[in-house]
């Protein structure tokens, strides 16, 4: 199979949500000497882009978006060991967490997957993350963006708590804060001093990309 065929098959396996094919083709492509970065950027990433487009037009739903991310992850697990060093150029760095008291991480995980596809380096702190751990991660990893997620109204206040803690640590101006989750509204985001409220995962990714893209390139 020629290189282009492998790339096309990887793309199709993501679009078709096909776990078996992505693993099979990824193995074959690596055995055939396809460059691992090319397999990702010209094979799987275009597949995820198509899935995202289908989601935006209503042909695919959240479940398909999630499964496509999982299919891509399985393909990446085959390809990653073939990547030597980290020669990839990153768009920016994001620290992301579901706030303390909240165990809901579906939305956060979709955003994490899509940020990775977009070219961001993502530090995923997981779910039910205490504010002090979030602040420590921002200090240590120095991200461009902090993403906070909550599904419960009783945990939303933790987002405001994190922003206040950033101010107290005198690092608020060093990081953009994006918040999201079903109950989170622009009014609430404004009231706690966040920079943006993500309407959904794709819109949130667009905003993050805009933030790290120089004005003249946009």
């Amino acid at each position: 199979m020629v290189k282009e065929k492998y790339l096309e098959s990887l793309k199709e396996s993501i679009v078709n949500l096909d776990f078996n094919t992505v693993v099979e083709i990824a193995k074959e492509a690596m055995d055939a000497g396809v460059d691992p970065h090319t397999a990702i950027t010209d094979g799987m990433v275009p597949g995820m882009t198509i899935v995202g487009e289908k989601y935006e037009t209503g042909e695919y739903f959240l479940s398909e978006l999630v499964v496509a991310g999982a299919v891509m992850k399985e393909g990446m697990e085959i390809i990653n060991p073939y990547i030597k060093g980290d020669s990839s150029k990153r768009l920016g760095k994001v620290v992301i967490a579901t706030v303390e008291g909240d165990n809901h991480d579906l939305g956060k995980n979709i955003v994490t997957t899509l940020l990775g596809v977009q070219g961001f380096e993502v530090v995923d702190l997981g779910r039910d993350v205490p504010t002090d751990k979030i602040i420590a991660a921002v200090k240590e990893r120095k991200p461009d963006i902090l993403g906070l997620s909550a599904l419960l109204t009783v945990t939303m206040s933790k987002m405001g708590e994190a922003i206040e803690a950033l101010k107290a640590a005198e690092i608020r101006e060093k990081v953009k804060v994006i918040v999201g989750g079903s109950p989170v509204t622009p009014e609430f985001a404004e009231s706690i001093g966040a920079d943006h409220c993500a309407v959904n995962a794709l819109e949130g990714i667009k905003k993050c990309t805009e933030w790290v893209t120089p004005q003249e390139v946009r």
Binding site: G101, N103, L106, L152, T153, S157, S182, P183, E187, F188
Partner: protein, 378 residues
Amino acid sequence: MAEMTRHERIMTATHKKRADKLPFLGLWRHLQVGWVERECRNRGMGIYWHRPCYISKMHGVKSSETQVVSSGAVVLRRTYSTPVGSIYLDEKREPGVEQWKGLASWRDVSPWQTDRLIKGPEDYKVLKYMVENTEYIPYYFPIEQAMDWLGDDGVVLDALPHSPWQTLMIDWVGSEGGRFFIHHAKYPDLVEDLYRAISKSREPLYEIAAKSPAPIAFCGDNIDGVLLNPKLFQKYCMPEYEKEAKVLHEHGKLMAVHMDGRVGVLKDLIAKTPIDIVEGLTSPPMGDLPIGEALSLWKDKAVWTGIPGSVLILGPEAVKKHALNLLREVGSGDRLVVELATETQISNENLLMLTSILENADLPLTKEKIDKIERSLA
């Protein structure tokens, strides 16, 4: 004409007839106790109360609980052992659990499962064994007791578990990290086989609920069109609702389903279901279907609408604006019941604001009546 009792008001609206006033009520487990609660009840607030109408027994299954540390957190591990294998779940509890209202914490958060019963494909057969060996037995004491205690002050509903698909998606496989969707894509036969087993095992439960003295059976689903897309809703939820409603309606009983998510994408399908009460319907900004539109679309259904948590968190002025807008968009106000909160406790200030508006909402609603209510708040 004598003023309706709270119970009459709720049931009249729910039976799609005109009540004297717009019914409004508080969910027993979210309602604080004290002077504000007393004041609001004096203003006409009713109470609705979910109570079980059955007990269940699992035959050939042993269960045990122990405290363990998992991923650095202290959790309660419940293990089920069957002849075909064992499975466990881990549960994390906030402070206040068992010191407050049963399993609710001081913040009214229920314990959450940090590890679900189904983790991998090997767990399905164990859970299927448990499902197939579960017996449901009628037990109406909690219903009778609540009805006796509540009297005309509200309404008691049979509390039923999530429907089979939602049981899998919310309770047993869980959607954390998208696990349920991934399982459904990778192991469709296992998921569907267990779904069918749950569906069959629930049939006696619908009979039990139908014969309980409560006027409404509450199917404790958690419908959200973003998580549960139209294809899944149509294939897995609607047939179960039809089966359940058939049994309930034969006994003159109403069926309520909790739909507090973004249901805009499901609105046409919901219209086709035999559900009598769309419960917990949350208007924008948290939901995506305006209540007025829902009432227009679902003329054979009553709507019990909740006040969005994202409005409550902004305080009484935002609550006032939301409540007045709600009154202005629902036409005459028929077939509507307002729930003061469906997912979290309400502050005193919010509760007083809401009830000061709703106590004066005589039906049918008119622009003049709503303007008068607004002026009275100035």
